[in-house]
């Protein structure tokens, strides 16, 4: 099977100004910190970051934000990083806030070949603005559309060299969904093992979704 393990430097050649990048993690847990640090040092600009939250001021995605590398954020929560709100208010940053369940499902749709889904979440709130409202069996739903990206940056606990992934604890969060929804999927794994070393029953993300793997 193809060995997808590369160096950190090799992955950087795929990251370009202006790309849409999905970043796994929930309040920095399950975030690919080594990859983010490398992008911070490279200075890639005008990124659209699709991530549940913007981490903290001096950590993960928060570091790229403070370094003026992000032009737009799509996520559900920015309260842990005051810099995000400040930049949004003075117009330096575009922020699209999405309810967390809708955010997760939009990414899942993006990777699952679906054209969208109907959710009761957000009906009667400002979230419904500009969206189609459909009534099914007498109940109102919002039509929410899929989210996709150029690149997904994924954090795994273990990867085999083909890219089969295992996660740990709540570090799983959005990672398995994002691994399905981007053109190029780069994984940062705490531990890399040979093909065959992982129990097929415990693999959460099938390796076919993964393009590159680096040692975390």
């Amino acid at each position: 099977m193809i060995n997808k393990v590369v160096t950190l430097e090799e992955t950087l050649s795929f990251i370009q100004d202006g790309q849409r990048i999905m970043v796994g993690g929930f309040l920095n847990v399950g975030a690919p910190l080594k990859l983010l640090e490398a992008i911070y040092e490279k200075g890639t600009k005008d990124l659209t970051v699709i991530s549940n939250d913007t981490s903290f001021v001096d950590k993960g995605v928060g570091k790229l934000l403070a370094n003026n590398q992000i032009k737009k954020v799509i996520g559900s929560y920015i309260g842990s990083n005051p810099e995000t709100g400040k930049r949004m208010n003075d117009g330096r940053l575009e922020v699209e806030l999405v309810p967390q369940g809708t955010f997760a499902e939009r990414i899942r749709c993006g990777g699952a070949g679906l054209g969208g889904f109907l959710t009761p979440t957000g009906v009667g709130t400002i979230v419904e603005e500009g969206k189609e409202i459909l009534e099914v069996n007498g109940k109102k739903y919002l039509l929410e559309l899929p989210l996709k990206a150029d690149i997904a940056l994924i954090k795994a606990y273990k990867a085999d060299t083909f890219g089969n992934l295992v996660y740990r604890g709540t570090a799983r969060n959005f990672n398995p969904l994002m691994a399905m929804a981007a053109d190029l999927v780069i994984v940062e794994a705490e531990e890399i093992v040979e093909v065959g070393a992982l129990n097929p029953e415990e693999i959460v993300t099938p390796g076919i979704f993964v393009d590159k793997i680096i040692q975390g």
């Binding site: 929930f26 309040l27 920095n28 847990v29 399950g30 549940n52 939250d53 996520g75 559900s76 929560y77 920015i78 309260g79 842990s80 709100g85 949004m88 208010n89 806030l97 309810p99 967390q100 369940g101 809708t102 955010f103 997760a104 499902e105 990414i107 899942r108 959710t119 009761p120 979440t121 957000g122 009906v123 009667g124 709130t125 400002i126 979230v127 606990y157 996660y167 740990r168 604890g169 709540t170 570090a171 799983r172 969060n173 959005f174 990672n175 398995p176 969904l177 959460v204």
Partner: protein, 217 residues
Amino acid sequence: MTNSREIIARRVARLFKDGDVVNLGIGLPTLVADFVPKDINVIFQSENGLLGLGPTPLAGQENKDVINAGGQPVTVLPGGCFFDSAMSFAIIRGKHVAATVLGALEVDEKGNLANWVIPGKMVPGMGGAMDLVVGARKVIVAMEHTTKKGEPKILKKCTLPLTACEEVDIIVTELGFMEVTPEGIVLREMAPGVTVEEIKAKTEAELIIPDNLTVME
């Protein structure tokens, strides 16, 4: 004397039934876990991908990969499990959560809830709140009865952007226990020492006072 937050948490904790799956919001609602009666087994869910939340780990025994939705390290009880965020919100929207307990900026007579944004001032984002309020079978607002300035939070009509429409079932404050019904908000119980006049004065919404009003324990 016990403080307001403890009075509220204690009352909310008695609303659960054995086997209920419950999601607690950040802040005051998190305290509820400490007061669940010992003879009842409640399964706590955290929307970042965990069922079976246990107590806070001892210092030095934290697992960096196991946190609650507020970012604090937690433990997992035997029988607990992890899953991704799509599964987590399928559990939530799919009506598999018996109750969610959240704080509020405003609640109104129709059961509308505002708790995620003060335009121009506080814009943290809604996180999972909108999904939880729409999806949980029972929505319990646990909050102090008025703002720090003493202004009512239980209103005739919410003024802030809504989290969800007509989803709140129960409101518990340090002054009383209220139920949102199609007729309006019914005051079911009052905390010891509180008078109907006092609670009415601190509530903008019209409170319905039934004959069988009891004392909140």
